[in-house]
Symmetry: D4
Subunit: 256 residues, 8 copies
């Protein structure tokens, strides 16, 4: 921007043209079309997080193209919601791809320089919640945060959770993943003092309403300070947690 | 019924008339109109539980009349959902009435002979849930069951619940009352082996949807075997629990 | 756990105290991983009911492993929501498995010692509700309760229900299974004095909303004391009913 | 309009043809403004039912004006949803008005000539449903149909309903009014062969959702042939039933 | 019933046994098991309408068995919701079956004696609503009512409807079938004086919510006296209309 | 903006400072705080429509202040959702205010220069819809468009609508206001070729769901090209219609 | 119809009066059946827009027949919601068809004479919204309006939108297409002064509720004057926009 | 508790071990009853945040008692959801109370020692959202975090938001408060790299559904990493933000 204004001062650019340039600048300069998909390389500058390819509703070709364009610039790229069929097709297109079946995630290369981040605990209520928990964990690791995985600590067996509290307290931020009645964050929220991101899952049937009840129960929790993301949104939880974990990593000693 | 059939055999009643009488018998014989309200004295014979006067949508005069007619027959009667204004008007009409303000309950006299019942624990998550919990407790006591009251053991402070487990285990049946995300029954359901009736309350705001989320969360619980009643329905929970507690009371020693 | 038992053998701990200690033991010590599924052998000690394998969302291999691990310890194990394809695959893996097609249930072996339980009536409104009714019946039998099956007594032909009342009254607890408008529990609730667990089914179309209306109608019933479980949740109804039936079985004579 | 009648007088148009012409005449010619309310005198010619004044959202002055204009032409008029305050104000404006408090209905005069109609049974589940049932009954009577009132026959005491079946069978059409789980029409629908109009009421709380569950339960009924109107819509049920009862009244003997 | 009571008077039956017999009589005597499906031959005596086989959720074998058992007694039988695959399988099992593809209906034989019924108009808004309209028409014809079919008269081209009014007025009852915003019954309700049964269809997308909006719009109609059945419930509309049309058929001349 | 850039070229402003100024400019320069309410005088430049004061949730003092500040600049200002109590308080504060009771609107002064606009027809289904219709009409007139008012043309009396079609066709744009089942726009949409804005109202009860069904029915309309605004949102409809009417006014002859 | 035209030829009717008469002519005279689908050739006379074939729920044969009949009269015809399988079948039936895969649209021929229309901007938030945006764009072009396509300007990268504002301002009307939280119309509505039609898409998951949240967010927008169509309803948006764009095209100079 | 501390004094327990023990201590030992309200002094040890008194549903006496008990121990206490009537009664009971009318908050005293926290930006879309924004701001300040208030930056005037970006970037965490379509967090989420907590408000009408649409729109946002709390839940947002801000405050330099 200063460059444009310098050109104005130098007389190389008329004020009217500069106004046009300024309005066009931020996006146009950094966007590169890959087929019909626009890649926003500028996003990381603005938000600290690069574009993460959302695989649902994209063809294998579109996903492969986007991953390649992003990795070309940043060393690594990641795609989520890559179901088994799409994963097979992707592997044929990009043999060097690493695919995580359970989490439906594909990773290409590795990003070179990432801001430091304190550890994130990904705590999961039941085995059916694992795909979402792993999505959160892998995205957090891709963004540079170490992850502590705590599985199968649903509240119907509260001792399981209490037995893992020390491990959970070792993290700077907690992601709690649960479906059905989703009571895990409420119980956890009364036991820890770290920031807590809750992810409802669509696990359950009947009155679970595909995760809407888990979502509402988390939002209505009697434990204050729980922040919630969309149903099955492991990616969103990871991005929120990493932003927090980076703040914590700037501290002189570990977060706790 | 046998009486009618005996009359037929004795020729005192024609088969056609008997058919009419049989069809009319059960209700007509025992119903007595009190103003526009019909009192079903027969109900206790069929279901083990007398008619409980639901005060909402009835005038003080109607409630007073129903209580008097029921108490005349059975020694005692109870009305629920009696709000403060109605309670004041009722007290003027029936001075000997005992009114429980918090639970919005009015009791007239005491029922003489009630089946024995094992103790019922009424467990309550927060202080805002107390009116519903007390409604359940008072109705259960009116029907003859001893009640163990456990208050303020919401899951956001799990130690409070664990500290009271022994007292809870002393009951044959448990009524768990909770609003907001209503995680209490899930946690409790994984810790005890008694029948567990869950009552969602309309406590909460925003996404709590006046208790619908608490209700759904209880129904979607990961702890199997939790049975649920309508929102704020302390009466229904008490009736369900008393039916169970009576079964337990027939055992040679106390339920646990 | 062994340590506790050693102390008992050494006389340093009374059996009663040991039982208390065992009930409190954290989950981690007694859990055994079977692939990615954790088996909670401790659950039966705490809640009186062993882990029941929920087959939906698990692979045949996971179900087979869980059944084998559970049966190894307890003599028998049961899996629910086993659809036809999964059942075929399971049979190939575990030839000695007994599969109930209609109820989508697979049973391996038989549990040796189960607490006594009084009879449970499983009452079903229509033939489309049979899969859920059978799920409830088979789980109840697996847990040790005798089951009285009453089918096709929907309220649109009320005589069918009245004709079966004596059989229903022979049980200590009733499970009523109905879809669509789910009026069966309301009618039944006014005719019997036993505990009544209602199971809504997803049978119906259009405004039935996949069972939500049946569920709500049961909860809003004008007959007090009906306790309700999640849509299609035959398992939950069975567990709730068995807990009650065990209380009744401790009585000197049969429940009724 | 006069033109048409002139042509009839002149013999240029047969009465039958004139009736056809009149039925087609646009609204504008026959409407008379009463303040800001337009009165559709033509409606009865087209639909067989005169305009019924819906009192909710109208001022006492508007209701009084509409009743007077309608009664001036037809001898009588009726207003519904007249709450107690409005009724008092109305009585001050129109002293000769007959007000039915429970049904919130005001009637002015009586319509002289009404088509014959067979009897209609208005069957009501609970005392809380009476206001809606009486609205239906009074509107049906206003439109010329004899009404058989059957109250307090909710399905939680099924004998009450069975005892009144003969009376119900004496009608040509049945209006069944019920709130909460609204099982009455389902039971009735399996016992009678007459047309059956079901009216859900907003009676209930919690999961009743102000009558939505009663409405849905009626629509999802397992008894085929039940037709349903809006929640608390006694007027609509009466109009539907009267249209049917008029068809029946044209028969050589009473409908049954 | 009188027969049983006569036996009591004759001493051939003890009162106690008679009580048992009476309770068992109505249903047990007339039910015949066909596989797991119970056929209620008694239903037509009670409700005027025989059992109609609901094909959804039944196997071709079950449907074939039920149709055969019903037709054996009554001459003819009908099954609804028979999708193309099921229809093919059915035709293989019952070659003499008549299948109506669009309406998804299968008819076996023809019922000999049916009560007379006045004509029913089946009025349909759009071509996508035709399957439901035809289901209603064919069931009405099966039950003995002549049907007048009026198609494609949606309100977005109001002239189409006005042009067919005379034909519609020739019927004693009207069934109006519409999806999306379902305005047809409102417009029709202001133009005719016959009973009007509205059937919402699941036609539409997005905010149509699979027919829920069409249903609600019909119930909320500003035209009084419209009675509504469940979404896509052509059968229910036909049964309701036939009950009305039979009343009309008893009149000395045709209904209009 | 050019002014800032000119200063840069003249050296009177450093590029860095200019960047700051540019970012701050658009809003800061034209906003004037009136108590805690910010007035956005810039809005009309951007969107062609000045700020319209939404009275709900504002105190009379806040409304008066906002009206005065807006009128000071533009000659006139308008506030909506001014209920009777607020209107009385407002009149005390601003005696020269013109208040429209039915439409709950207050107007201060008159705006001097407004872009020309073609006529808008405001068509209203029932008298209960009039407040919303008048809100739309008065806001449209305030913004400079002539309004043609067509009232009480609900579809239950289709002749009323057909009789007014010529008047409606005289407008360039149509606003159709309706509650309950809201069929008016569908019928109108098939009869005219102008842009059509539909406004659902909260008129109705029970299943009307406070206007949600009217809204959904309009959106699901079978007549293509109907655009819809929020429930009771007369203001939004007026703004949308005026934007269109201004386009039409630029034409050499009247829109039709 | 011929009769009217004969009268015109005979001079008994002026062309203007004949046009009026033709507009009133009932549908039946001008409709031509194509199989079971009725084609409404009259629609364009009334509404300015010809019938657009909605392909969902129609067979390829029905679509082909409708397109041919419409094109025969008007030169061109268009079908929407033609999914890939249907498109392949259609191409086999009508080789000269132009199919747009992304937009699921098939066009046959080209309409000869269409009213002039000003340019329409179709603005799209994300790449997943493109199918709906293209449906709108192609239908608008089919109806004769030039279209300006602006893609991938979602608000999470606000600079992208600001950079394209000049292009957007070049249109007379704007169609804004967005899914998920659908914030694009709110932002746009505060930046432009043209009529703005918003189209919610079903893009999103979990709490997005298949586009219902996008729809509601658009309707609840804080920017006044946004008019909304059904979810994924590109056709409706195009028809609404074209009606507006035709008004604008009658102006002496371009719309802005 | 004293026992633990005695052991520390005696050197039998290291302070670190004692801290662990204290964190595990059951609730019962440290709770003190104040009337019927239990105060959980232990909560701050476990969760870092003291009990905040939720005023809704509590009497002024209960609020006053709770504030006094909490302030006695910690120096200061805060109550939320204190409406004007309750505030007046509270002031009479506790004259030294500081009441914030707009935010409905009452503060007693000031907490002495609070952990350091980095600045929090509270960003608010419209003036109607201010009460919730102030609730968040005051609670955050009570817990020790400096607050940057940014008001009236709704997206319908995007320049207002862009002009305040530098101020927003000065905070370590952002709380974004918005009602209606709630687009603010989406736009903000694409412009900043800090953790972002979104608070939906119940501001809006009609389809806003009392904040449910704002909530869902925030959760469905296309900008990843936004974490959301319950509707109008300023308290929850503050607690979540403070937990994050404390992590940031431990860093050697300011968060940005």
């Amino acid at each position: 921007m200063l460059e444009v204004l310098d050109q104005v001062r130098a007389g190389a650019l008329s004020p009217a043209d500069a106004a046009d340039r300024l309005a066009e600048l931020p996006y146009a300069e950094i966007a590169h079309a890959v087929g019909s998909t626009m890649i926003d390389h500028h996003r990381e500058l603005r938000t600290g997080v690069p574009e993460l390819v959302f695989g649902a509703g994209k063809t294998p070709e579109q996903i492969a193209g986007a991953l390649r364009e992003l990795a070309r610039r940043a060393g690594g790229a990641i795609a989520t919601r890559v179901d088994p069929d799409k994963a097979a097709a992707l592997r044929a297109l990009v043999p060097e791809l690493a695919v995580h079946d359970l989490a439906r995630i594909a990773v290409l290369g590795a990003r070179a320089a990432r801001p430091a981040a304190a550890p994130i605990a990904v705590v999961c209520a039941g085995t059916s919640d694992l795909p979402v928990a792993e999505e959160a964990a892998l995205v957090a690791e891709f963004l540079g945060a170490p992850v502590i995985r705590i599985h199968d600590v649903g509240v119907a067996g509260i001792h399981r959770l209490l037995a893992r509290l020390d491990a959970i307290r070792g993290a700077a931020v907690i992601i709690a993943v649960a479906g059905m009645e989703a009571a895990l964050p409420s119980v956890l929220g009364g036991l820890v003092d770290q920031p807590l991101i809750a992810v409802p899952t669509s696990v359950g049937y009947g009155v679970s309403l595909d995760g809407l009840v888990a979502l509402a129960a988390m939002l209505a929790s009697c434990a204050p300070g729980i922040a919630v993301v969309n149903i099955d949104n492991g990616v969103g939880a990871a991005v929120a947690a990493v932003r927090i974990a980076r703040l914590a990593a700037r501290a002189p000693e570990a977060a706790r």
